[in-house]
């Protein structure tokens, strides 16, 4: 079983962490809101974005085959992986074939899902994160706490201290331009010397065999342009049907994620270096990862999880995420998307508890640019966690079932379906209420937040009405 509860309680005690997240999330929410001020445009663009992803999912196997065929025609080699272990092996094989010792990485959440860096280091290959936020947390041996801004949990004093300790000849400074300059200096040499580059994929276009990447820093372009070998990894849900599907999705993605009308770079890769060209990688490979996605796909409701374009707006607006931060989830994808994705990827035993880390307030649903019904999916996953059944589209269905809870609900259901039992229980509760302890069982936990226990009324509503002369129905 997981440990979200204890981790969340620990995080809540960390005032610095809470203020770092609060400030960041407030900024991101207001920047996003400013760019979707036109409600009519937002409504129509969002409907379009949803339809594009739903259309791609409705033809998913055909589009993946088309993507593969067009990539091959363009000279991009395509590989398929059922599991993260297979994907890691494919990448290791490609690197070893070229004798590669260093890999520069652009931001890729799928590679986090694969724990690729640790795997490669185990095989003597240096995997270096080059996105500034990812670089910061890699220096500190941490996991990302946000899918778009991985180092959002740190303030500049913490980063200044880290750089002065870990970067050779670096002086302590809190000047953001100077800190950025230090990272630039270290990483430019790495880009120049690296044997291979790795990137994620934001959208893969079946029609043309084109891989689209959005970014602001230019590290993604450097990773996909300078080294002789480029490996792109994507979850199988990243495919879209046509090139003209990409601009509306990019618009939804960049505005939702960081409140930018567009990112500095939109990088569209269709082939390796062509004859006569002077730069670009000699080899480009695309690794398509399943890792549980086809299992989710088998269920029409859970399939909607695969509409996600990874903008992070759901976490930016989540009252739980904002207070506990990303690390409490202990998962590559935190926040609302993580709460529905992780149980489906890793199973109910390891991650089913994340589906409960929500008040179902619906804030994430309101801002999702592709209308994923996150709250409905949370409830669905809670149900899958409580009921074992043979053909469930999740791993370890029923893993969260508790005998005591099941018994309590069974008793409740008996009582609530028998008027005599209901009446008797009501009378007893009213009579013995003053004798009941202030808190016991799960109530004790609930009361710790400073709440007072609700009291049972001395007389039930039925009784009060009868006393007033209203006849029972």
């Amino acid at each position: 079983m997981g440990n979200f509860g204890p981790a969340a309680r620990e995080a809540l005690k960390d005032g610095q962490l809470r203020s770092n997240f609060r400030r960041a999330m407030d900024g991101l929410m207001s920047k996003r809101a400013a760019l979707f001020a036109d409600q009519d445009e937002w409504t129509r663009l969002r409907a379009l974005g949803e339809s594009i992803k739903a259309r791609a999912l409705a033809q998913l196997p055909e589009l993946l085959e088309k993507l593969e065929a067009n990539c091959r025609k363009n000279g991009i080699q395509v590989h398929w992986a059922e599991t993260t272990a297979q994907a890691n092996d494919i990448i290791l094989g490609l690197l070893q074939k070229r004798g590669a010792k260093t890999l520069v990485k652009g931001k890729s959440m799928v590679s986090e899902e694969m724990h690729l860096n640790a795997f490669l280091e185990g095989h003597g290959i240096e995997a270096l994160e080059t996105d500034l936020g990812e670089y910061v947390i890699q220096l500190d041996h941490e996991a990302p706490s946000h899918i778009i801004m991985p180092a959002i949990h740190k303030n500049k004093q913490q980063i200044a201290r880290l750089f002065s300790e870990k970067i050779k000849e670096a002086q302590y400074t809190e000047d953001v331009d100077a800190l950025t300059g230090m990272a630039r200096q270290v990483l430019r040499r790495k880009f120049r010397e690296a044997d291979a580059g790795l990137s994620g994929v934001n959208f893969a276009v079946a029609e043309t065999g084109t891989l689209c990447l959005v970014e602001n820093e230019g590290n993604g372009r450097l990773c996909t342009t300078v080294p002789p070998l480029h490996i792109a990894v994507m979850g199988l849900e990243k495919v879209v049907e046509r090139l003209e599907d990409v601009p509306p999705l990019i618009s939804l993605l960049t505005r939702s994620a960081t409140g930018q009308p567009i990112t500095t770079y939109v990088n569209m890769i269709t082939s390796p270096r062509r004859p006569g060209e002077k730069d670009g990688p000699e080899e480009v490979h695309l690794v398509i990862l399943d890792n549980g996605r086809s299992r989710s796909y088998s269920d029409e409701q859970l399939r909607r999880t695969l509409q996600c374009i990874r903008c992070g707006a759901c976490m930016n607006h989540c009252p739980v995420y904002t207070r506990v931060g990303g690390h409490a989830y202990n998962a590559p994808y935190p926040g609302p998307i993580g709460k529905i994705l992780m149980p489906q990827i890793e199973g109910m035993e390891a991650k089913g508890e994340l589906a409960h880390a929500s008040s179902l307030c619906n804030a994430c649903v309101e801002v999702c640019p592709v209308k994923i019904p996150i709250a409905e999916l949370l409830v669905r996953l809670r149900t899958e966690g409580a009921h074992a059944r043979a053909d469930a589209p999740v791993l370890q269905p029923g893993a969260e079932r508790s005998t005591a809870e099941a018994l309590a609900w069974k008793m409740w259901s008996r009582m609530a379906t028998s008027p005599t039992a209901w009446k008797m229980a009501g009378t007893m509760a009213g009579t013995f209420d003053p004798l009941m302890p202030e808190a016991f069982g799960p109530l004790a936990d609930w009361k710790k937040g400073g709440r007072t226990r609700p009291r049972f009324a001395k007389k039930s509503l039925h009784r009060l009405l009868r006393d007033k002369g209203v006849p029972d129905a």
Binding site: R23, G27, L28, R44, A47, L48, R55, L60, W80, A81, L132, G133, V136, A151, I152, K156, D177, T180, R184, R188, R189, F191, E207, T210, E217, G218, N219, R221, L222, T224, T225, V226, P228, L236, R242, L243, E244, P247, P248, S251, T258, P261, I262, T264, V266, N267, M268, T270, R274, E277, D279, G280, I288, D290, S294, R295, Y297, S298, E300, R303
Partner: protein, 217 residues
């Protein structure tokens, strides 16, 4: 791994599926900026992220650029000698001042100089996008990818008559899905930037620190 491919695809094919929904692109079609306002809009959007603009003419831009580099203390510029812009630059570049460096061999043979030796790179553009303030670049054998990526300053030529309303409309007007896409197509909307340290904006983290746009009338 052929078996992984086949088993993934067969699982996907076995899932229940309804008909693919249609998409209403009218919100993309409706976006419109009158032609006379497009340049101002593009400038405003790009200047908001620190891109710099200069006005020159189609006849005079190489001399203008030379003067600008000298004035700004930029000592060298990398260019693609096979491109139309590169040929103009080579022919009309004045003696002295800033040095013009031809990108005439594979990057692998002069990575060191490219990363540490040249201060600027010149590219043409296919046009611009008013809505988001973006330049469209199609690098090629004659105008390689690194010109807009590796040197600390990127200088881009923009023909003000080639401005589109939106990315979507530009893609359709230029018929991208019907033509062979280049190895790498790009939109560039400013200099390299990051907000990864405390959401504070900093320019030039990995790519160019400055983006200079020359409007060629």
């Amino acid at each position: 791994m052929p078996d992984a491919r086949d088993s993934i695809l067969s699982r996907l094919r076995a899932a229940p599926r309804g008909p693919a929904p249609g998409s209403d692109f009218s919100v993309m079609e409706d976006r419109f900026f009158p032609p006379e306002e497009r340049l101002a809009r593009l400038r405003k959007m790009m200047e908001a992220v620190s891109a710099e603009f200069f006005e020159t003419t189609k006849a005079d831009w190489p001399r203008f650029l030379h003067g600008l580099l000298v004035q700004q203390g930029i000592g060298s510029i990398l260019y693609g000698p096979g491109s139309e812009a590169g040929q103009r630059l080579a022919e009309e570049w004045p003696e002295g001042g800033a040095r013009a460096v031809a990108y005439d061999r594979p990057m692998d043979s002069f990575k060191e100089e490219m990363f540490n030796g040249v201060e600027a790179g010149l590219t043409s553009t296919l046009g611009g996008i008013a809505e988001t303030g973006s330049l469209i670049l199609w690098p090629s054998a004659d105008e390689p990818r690194a010109l807009s990526l590796v040197p600390p300053v990127h200088v881009a030529l923009l023909d003000p008559d080639k401005l589109h309303n939106t990315f979507w409309q530009a893609m359709r007007a230029l018929g991208w899905s019907q033509t062979q896409m280049p190895a790498n197509a790009l939109l560039v909307s400013g200099p390299s930037k990051t907000t990864d340290i405390e959401q504070t904006l900093a320019y030039g983290v990995h790519g160019p620190k400055r983006l200079i746009v020359l409007i060629t009338r």
